[in-house]
Symmetry: C2
Subunit: 340 residues, 2 copies
Amino acid sequence: MRLIVDVMSGDSEALEAVKGALKAHRELGVDITLVGDEKTVTDALETLSVTPNDSVKVVHAASVVTMEDDYLVVIKSKKDSSMSVGLNLLKAGEGDAFISTGNTGALVAGASLIVRKAKGIKAAAIGAVIPLGAPMLLIDAGANVAPNAETMKQFALMGSIYMENMFGLKSPRVALINNGTEETKGNDLARETYGLLKECPDVNFIGNIEGRDVVNSVCDVLVADGYTGNIILKLVEGFGKFMSKTLKSMFKKNFKTIIGALFLKSEAKALKKSMDYTEYGGAPLLGISAPVIKAHGNSGEKGVFSACRQAKTFVETGIIDEIAALGAKMREEKRGTENE
Amino acid sequence: MRLIVDVMSGDSEALEAVKGALKAHRELGVDITLVGDEKTVTDALETLSVTPNDSVKVVHAASVVTMEDDYLVVIKSKKDSSMSVGLNLLKAGEGDAFISTGNTGALVAGASLIVRKAKGIKAAAIGAVIPLGAPMLLIDAGANVAPNAETMKQFALMGSIYMENMFGLKSPRVALINNGTEETKGNDLARETYGLLKECPDVNFIGNIEGRDVVNSVCDVLVADGYTGNIILKLVEGFGKFMSKTLKSMFKKNFKTIIGALFLKSEAKALKKSMDYTEYGGAPLLGISAPVIKAHGNSGEKGVFSACRQAKTFVETGIIDEIAALGAKMREEKRGTENE
């Protein structure tokens, strides 16, 4: 197995991404292709006393997609970027999965247009594992701000496939985020999606959940349109930071609290770990014909390593084949409806 | 000043609501009208050794709107409910503000249809003060799941009026929740709303904010459609509970942590207080021609008292007049546009 890693597009130094990828190479036994400015990458390898070879390849890319770039640069003005080059390697079969810490919009657009969506899948979605209690996949976390109900149903199906394969869940519980639990709640999209999910035999639909239940591990897959999903994801991230900031200032307040904090050190550390999004790696792009993972923009060595570990499982399981089969089924159903 | 309090519609005992209202009567010097089943309310008063009089009136209502009732019962099958009776008292000028802990949907519908919206205001909105850091008004927290951009602009204007009057903020900072900070981000509604807010001289618009900034006190008014706003509000509530549950189990884990917790007791208490939504009372319904406040469903004495205190300020400030003036201006602008 070979993982293609874009080591240039994140907010951290290329050296950190290179370290994470090398750790994956050593510990997980995968070959790696590091994509980025050749000199920067070989310098990083030299710092780490590693010489490029068949198992650790370097592929040059002349430019970098920035976080501020328009998402279409990846197929327009920056075709020579580490993101584009990496996606093209994946498309050409020069690796089994692609990992990037870069611009999410550009990665979704590039993956959809270069690697291509699975046939029959209407739109690629960003799946994000929420690290509060039991892992829950939020889909879509921001790729499609205005999907239709049929696309939302595909999110539910792809999310179920992902959680079943990655976390070994039998028949994952799927819920729809809404402003109330009743079937009649929500905007047009939510109500229409509810109707489709209720009738779908391949989705273990448990109904609507409200915002307060996002933190309560009541479902395994949470379906949302990309606008709402992105707000939820970032709100959860913001909470995590708020909580650790609040605890820190509480612990440091005065002599008494500093003493108290000493007694709570290991528990505070465990809590921090349980809310650490880098534990689960990155966000999979579901609906693309090959595995693509968006690692967090400021992933250091640990984040990139986790994303590589996740990519390995992604490749080993049948997710891509199952999503291809899902797409084929959707096309057939559509053809059936049209012929009626 | 007289406050009309629906003491029957909440999840708590009527006695608790009566206690909260009586506390407001004693401490804030307001007259109160308690609406509910006459026997239940007079029994509660008797328990508290209070005899009804001109300052503490009881008005009988034969039924109660439940949390499960359809929102239209308030003007249909349950016209004799404590909520309907209270709203009709407000409409008739038999009090200056109405407070209910009941079914939000029914209260919004009842207030809009019985008390009526201010002329020129397209829709009433639920404002909810988010208790993380500096107070921030989230508007709409769930009254309108599918508003248009013009309605969203009115939310921004009404929210500004509310925060200016209630919290003494000069030119409150208004932001739009979105899946990115750039003007081009979001669904059609968000993009169109951005355009209107940018051009509106009466709104101090600071642009889009992402989910992670909801906890960072970067704005005073956060504009959202009711679907998204409701999800945000409940997520914030859920997070508060998650945080206090997490801290509790961390403190109680073993002998060592119990000792540690003793040193942190007053800080933990202060934290809990800072995240307590009952501190700010309830959620104002903005756009109605008289003050209506939705207190949290499980408000006990403290929650109802806070909502009464808030209602008093609501009445004393010029909010209702300013919203009426806003509605008049909106009607004139519309007429102007139509004549062009």
